[in-house]
């Protein structure tokens, strides 16, 4: 064997070893859409959160089960009135360029978030912080009036408008991530470009091909870098779920973050244990315009709600076993316990229909005077299937439903204008707290598409939010929820489920209600 051949063989062996190990530790995630930005203040989708939460870290971060754990802050204290939080930052935390992460970076980031000039979509999630909303509205021009102060480089003090029990949960959100002040100030809007961007999370982005993928690698400056089992991730853009499943089957993806529901049965058989379907904190519901007759009549709303056979929707129409919703707040929501339920939850479906017929009759509708209603939904196969099914469930009541679909933008525009009789809507929790759902029915709130209004409900929510005692708060909220349910303020249909497909070689993937799975908790076996 001559020298060259030997050298070639050695390098070939080494090369293949390297290739194997490099492949083994890169996670290929099917991530859905293209991110709007890598700037955490410009995001709004879960596909963006997956990337942002891997490359940035807030004061508080998520463990594998999405429970809050110390992130950049090692500890914090809350004042007795529940309004002032004092955070102590970890020692030695650094940006990926080696510069220290300071309390000033958090002040800078939160001020930028609420600055109207920055026009951040999601700034309102941090409106619990003192003066945040006023600054965002332009009522206060001085950004330093925001209730976020750096006592020194290691100590951050955040003052809230009101005691907010879910504030620590809200801090896990990407709107509360710090930004590298030194880079944003030096590079301006270009700070976020690959090559300029520096991050403080477990990973840092190295490549972004719009329409294809974002690549991340380990951030050597991260305090927990030694514990990372995955070297980096590729977040693939692919909106076609069928195609994504095929790529998963071919081994091109390790994790799918959604899958076509009609493939679920097939997957259970052919990819056993790989399809994860788990409760997800989201609600699928129908809005009923309670300002316009005949839907201003509570009996009509209740009849429609009772006649929906929720038990068949998850298992039979969707096929992924979504749980029927008889409450407004999904069970399992933090700071709440068991939610309130509609009083007729446990009646048999037959009895419900009988009761519904009676209610409609009282309201003046019946076979000879049928109720006609327009049901609007945004164009989507599943929404259509559900609408068709529900229309046929209402048929025996003598309700004639006209189905109208529109693309998402148009549909939500109509919902917001109140140009619907009955309309499909859905809500995914921004943070794990009942307030996030209950707020949807408060008078004057934009997402209150049905324009349902009840002063007592509004007062209970307001009083609940002023409470520092979580048990008392939950009690007030539950009373409010009961009022809304008794009045059929809207028609809850099912609780969402999260749908992931996880390769058997991935370990550490724990299903949780927020469906957040940071790469730092995952590992990969050969």
């Amino acid at each position: 064997m001559n020298f060259l051949t030997k050298r070639f063989m050695v390098s070939a062996v080494l090369g293949s070893l390297l290739a194997v190990s490099a492949h083994a530790a890169t996670l290929n995630i099917h991530n859905g859409g293209d991110p709007t930005s890598l700037d955490p203040q410009k995001l709004s989708g879960d596909w963006e959160n997956r990337i942002a939460g891997d490359i940035f870290e807030g004061l508080v971060t998520e463990d594998a089960k999405d429970n809050p754990i110390p992130g950049q802050a090692e500890s914090w204290k809350v004042s007795d009135d529940g309004k002032v939080y004092t955070f102590k930052l970890r020692d030695g935390i650094k940006w990926s360029d080696g510069q220290p992460v300071t309390a000033g970076d958090f002040v800078f980031a939160l001020q930028r978030l609420v600055d109207p000039k920055n026009a951040s979509d999601y700034a309102y999630l941090q409106f619990t912080i003192k003066n945040a909303e006023k600054i965002s509205k332009g009522e206060i021009a001085d950004l330093s009036q925001l209730g976020v102060k750096a006592i020194d480089d290691k100590t951050l003090e955040i003052t809230l408008e009101n005691p907010t029990p879910y504030f620590i949960n809200a801090l896990m959100h990407y709107t509360a991530y710090p930004l590298p002040k030194h880079v944003v100030e030096a590079k301006g809007a270009d700070w976020v470009k690959i090559g300029n961007i520096v991050t403080n999370g477990p990973y840092k982005p190295t490549e972004w091909v719009p329409g294809s993928h974002v690549t991340t690698v380990k951030n050597d400056q991260y305090y927990g870098v030694k514990d990372l089992k995955i070297d980096g991730a590729k977040f693939f853009v692919l909106e076609d779920q069928e195609a994504a499943l095929k790529r998963y089957r071919a081994g091109e993806f390790d994790i799918l973050t959604d899958f076509p529901t009609d493939q679920y049965e097939w997957m259970k058989k052919n990819l056993p244990g790989q399809a994860h379907v788990a409760p997800f904190s989201g609600l699928y519901y129908y809005v009923v315009n309670s300002q316009k007759p005949p839907f201003s009549d509570k009996r009509v709303r209740q009849a429609l709600s009772m006649a929906i056979n929720r038990e068949v929707i998850g298992p039979q129409i969707l096929g992924t076993g979504e749980l029927p919703a008889y409450s407004w707040v999904p069970p399992g929501t933090a700071n709440y316990g068991e939610p309130a339920y509609v009083s007729w939850k446990d009646m048999s479906y037959k009895d419900k229909v009988e009761e519904a017929k009676k209610l409609l009759k009282e309201a003046g509708f019946g076979p000879d005077h049928p109720l006609t209603a327009e049901l609007k939904y945004n164009t989507n196969d599943n929404h259509k299937r559900i609408a068709v099914a529900i229309a046929s469930m209402w048929k025996p009541l003598g309700v004639n439903v006209e189905l109208v679909n529109a693309e998402t933008k148009v549909h939500y525009d109509q919902l917001q204008r109140g140009e619907v009789q009955i309309g499909r809507a859905g809500w995914l929790a921004d943070y794990n707290d009942p307030d996030n759902f209950l707020n949807l029915l408060v008078t004057g709130v934009q997402m209150n598409y049905g324009r349902w209004s009840n002063p007592e409900y509004d007062k209970l929510i307001k009083d609940g939010n002023a409470q520092t005692d979580l048990t008392k708060r939950a009690e007030l909220f539950k009373q409010a929820e009961q009022i809304a349910l008794d009045d059929s303020a809207a028609l809850p249909i099912y609780y969402y489920v999260s749908k992931n497909v996880v390769s058997p070689k991935i370990e550490g993937f724990v299903d949780n209600v927020q469906d957040i799975h940071r790469t730092r908790w995952l590992s990969m076996k050969e």
Binding site: S136, G211, D240, K409, D413
Partner: protein, 307 residues
């Protein structure tokens, strides 16, 4: 010739302006705005966003700002992407789209012309029927059906090719998308070639060539092919503009970073800047390609050249 080309290019400017203007205003008539979505934004945030993108100004003023920027070569921002402008997104996607589109274009021409010639040569005989049937399948089956079937066969069952993605851009990643994209065009080109070739082969000068004892291959190559290509060439202009602007289906099924998806998604997202950007890009491309077709015509047909 150059003068002619220049005149043609200049004459498109008013057309372009009319298209941009119409598109700009028609877009605003569509219900729903760029910031409507499953999650409505608070009025204060909407106000800030509108101000950020100049959407709070009177429509005419917005139009003037847009045209002003356009004249400076700036296509403006895209609402769907904070980090890339409209021009940047198109420029990033273009190489991918052009690579796949050009490859599909060439493949469609080669396959289409060869199959078409064979069909004409063996008119109404077995090879003609077999090829004709195959081509019909290519034309009739939509690509959103063919693509997943190919993925299933070659990507999963045989595992010869990657199911999707651009990977390192090597040939194995390109084969399936290019074939799917080329197939319907290859079909149409072969039909046109066959028809045109049959017609040309019946001409007197071909009969003369045959009578002189020139073999069928030489007759086609030397005498029949060029005139038979005239109708094919006029089809190539629109075909090229179609292929070079990418395909939403092929890109989304194979997960490729081209520009095809912008054409549909931008309209659905009410991404005003991106819609206008794609319209302008498409128009410029069509103008250039039509010009190239006309030049090719002149080269192929002396009657056109001398006019």
């Amino acid at each position: 010739m150059i003068k002619y080309a220049l005149r043609r290019l200049l004459s498109t400017i008013p057309v372009l302006w009319i298209a941009v203007t119409a598109c700009f205003f028609v877009l605003r008539l569509a219900p729903g705005g760029p910031f409507d979505g499953e999650r409505p934004l608070p009025p204060v945030i909407l106000k800030n966003l509108a101000a950020h993108y100049n959407l709070d100004k009177p429509l005419v003023q917005q139009y003037l700002i847009y045209v002003g920027d356009l004249l400076r070569g700036d296509l403006g921002p895209s609402f769907a992407s904070e980090d890339f402008t409209v021009a940047q997104q198109i420029m990033i996607g273009l190489p991918y789209t052009f690579t796949i589109g050009t490859a599909a274009f060439l493949l469609a021409i080669v396959v289409g012309v060869v199959v078409g010639c064979l069909g004409a040569l063996y008119q109404n005989k077995m090879p003609d029927y077999i090829l004709g049937a195959m081509i019909l399948v290519g034309v009739v089956l939509p690509n959103f059906l063919i693509a997943p079937v190919l993925q299933l066969i070659f990507g999963i069952h045989l595992a010869w090719l990657p199911v999707g993605g651009w990977g390192d851009g090597s040939l194995k990643y390109l084969i399936m998308p290019v074939v799917v994209l080329a197939l319907p065009h290859a079909g149409r080109i072969s039909r046109i070639t066959r028809g045109s070739m049959i017609e040309v082969m019946g001409q007197n000068y071909i009969r003369t060539a045959k009578a002189k004892g020139i073999g069928p291959r030489l007759t086609i190559m030397r005498h029949a092919l060029k005139p038979a290509m005239m109708p094919v060439v006029s089809y190539l202009g629109p075909a090229a503009s179609y292929l070079l602007t990418g395909s939403l289906v092929v890109e989304s099924v194979f997960g490729l970073p081209g520009i095809g998806r912008y054409f549909i998604n931008a309209a659905l997202n009410r991404d005003y800047g991106m819609v206008l950007g794609t319209v302008i890009f498409y128009m410029v491309l069509i103008v250039i390609l039509n010009l190239l077709v006309d030049i090719a015509y002149a080269w192929l047909d002396p009657k056109v050249r001398n006019r």
